[in-house]
Symmetry: C2
Subunit: 360 residues, 2 copies
Amino acid sequence: MGRRRRTNATLMSVAAAAGVSRQTVSNVLNAPDRVAIDTRARVESAIESLHYRPNRAARSLRTQVSRLIGYCIMPATPGMLNPVLDRFAHAITEAASDRGFHILLFTTAGGRAGLDRYAELLSQLTVDGFILSDTVVGDPRQGWLTERGVPFVAFGRAWRNEEQGAWVDVDGAAGVTLAVEHVYGLGHRRIAFIGWPGGSGVGDDRLAGYESSCARLGVTPLVVRDVGGIEQGRVLAHRVLDAPDPPTALVCVSDADALGALRAVTERGLRPGHDVAVVGFDDISSAGMPGFDLTSVSQPIEEAGRAVVNMLLSRLNAIERGTSSSESGADVDAVAHLLLKPTLVIRSSSDPTTAMETPR
Amino acid sequence: MGRRRRTNATLMSVAAAAGVSRQTVSNVLNAPDRVAIDTRARVESAIESLHYRPNRAARSLRTQVSRLIGYCIMPATPGMLNPVLDRFAHAITEAASDRGFHILLFTTAGGRAGLDRYAELLSQLTVDGFILSDTVVGDPRQGWLTERGVPFVAFGRAWRNEEQGAWVDVDGAAGVTLAVEHVYGLGHRRIAFIGWPGGSGVGDDRLAGYESSCARLGVTPLVVRDVGGIEQGRVLAHRVLDAPDPPTALVCVSDADALGALRAVTERGLRPGHDVAVVGFDDISSAGMPGFDLTSVSQPIEEAGRAVVNMLLSRLNAIERGTSSSESGADVDAVAHLLLKPTLVIRSSSDPTTAMETPR
DNA sequence: AACCAGATTTTGAACGATCAAACAAGCACG
DNA sequence: CGTGCTTGTTTGATCGTTCAAAATCTGGTT
């Protein structure tokens, strides 16, 4: 039987069915207010009955707009936790789809070498703009894209040059402040911070939150640092707990470090939450597991995804309307930043009264 | 300055630069053997110096092929572990890109309601085919797509009707067999299986592996079941360990259940690996963490991703060449199945000799 | 010199939509 | 009654590529 390529309805076939011209059908779709009410109804029912959908390629060829957004995903680092990708990917897909856009995945080599891929997708007119994530300090992409006037929004600040391009980010400093205030409110006065080396934008941001809230609360700051990871967190936690007059609360720059710290605490025969409070950052899926039940700063990833898409689409619209040309170009290129506030999910690693019931 | 929309090179501009006609340039790209060797060189250098890339929309409009593959991602269940998405997404993106294709993300409502989206993407000619994942028993998608002759490959079997469409899957039975043989090899003779309710394809597959290897090794099977999850695994583990003559090894249908089982073992004052071996399935990122160090069956996700893409592309090629029409249609519609073997990652939850070093 | 086969290149004609401008009809106004 | 304005609809051209067929060139044959 058949299975031949189904020939889809076209503007012409719909026009014929409704007894009007191509352009009228096109207007029904793109500028309904220009069409007389009864003509519109007639065309709409023809569209309905023929299951007509405008051909994307044809539209895109004519308008020079693809309604596709490029999203580069990084090679998954084995063993590394990527708490963000799937939630973020889902959020941007959903948000884009509500506005008639789609997300196109691609991968590149890291750093400057990968820029070719961006160029390729652009010059083929495959995508209208990009969503960046996993931005790093000194990331070449923002500068490269800005130079070429390519619309993009990054999830994560451009750490070196804040004014470069639009971004949405989660306020790490505010997150750590929540964490410090939480343990302070529980009575802790010796609060250590387990961090990453200086120079990573994310790590420095979170550290800044620690330092400022210590200053405000009159707590003497105690910072230890390593490259990050479960094992590193464990070692650092042991180190600060070995000190005379050790801290009673450990605020960590990431959940991986916090899980290590948690382990160190148990290894010393101390009870997390009771004897030493541990707080992480990211609220990865393991955090809520029994056995960890880690208090953690949770990022509003879905909200960030929606915001990134909205910001990108408004830039695309602005460009489409020619706003970007010489005179009034400023408002398109206006730097758009959005810093979202994270929330603190309190679990028993910091507050034993929230311990999960463990029925038997 | 500028920032105006960059006008890309076209076939015509390249042709002018090289002193040939449109079609010759097109031939250099699509059928180089038809072009004289020196003409080809001239055209190629013109392409190079103008940075020409064929316009996707135009090509797609003419050829009726988009070189885009749709991939539907499911709403991330909060708190649930999705060990697969990011690795799989990355693998298919990479594999597709090697062959000039791209992955287009979309989301749908589950079940039959979501089928509209597939129809929409198809009738707009946005995508050439689909990759399905998270297939469930009684999934309507395979049947729907097959009926319409839409090329697709599923990651995961069509559980109810194995002949329906192409799929790649990981052999769950083989995975559990590895697990059972592993603990048997360590001397365990009372081996229980913590499973899911009957009726889930994946769960039944894995259970089948348990039952057949028990039969082969002469082990009395002991199966307990619940809906799955950390808490359920913990409760089930307690139940079997409460029995007289309790098992010394727990093979679990998933890592979530295994993590629960692990916790149950420690709660009883037993040492995982020494007193009771615990094995999971999926090798989620938490599995390797200190504190768990869970032996687990690991799926070759990257390989599966590549296989899915290859299978889909070969179907697309076949259709493009008209092979699908009446007479020789059989070989395209030939059911293509690929069952990959998982591997066992042995850690200290089953074999204490592999315990991680825990320096201080 | 005429002819032919093969290799190479060029020329119309699509693909299906939108833009820009032209056209038609209806109505008010001087 | 002609003119201008508004509203609604249609027509030609175009986006950049590939298909199909026609045109040109080359060299060998008869």
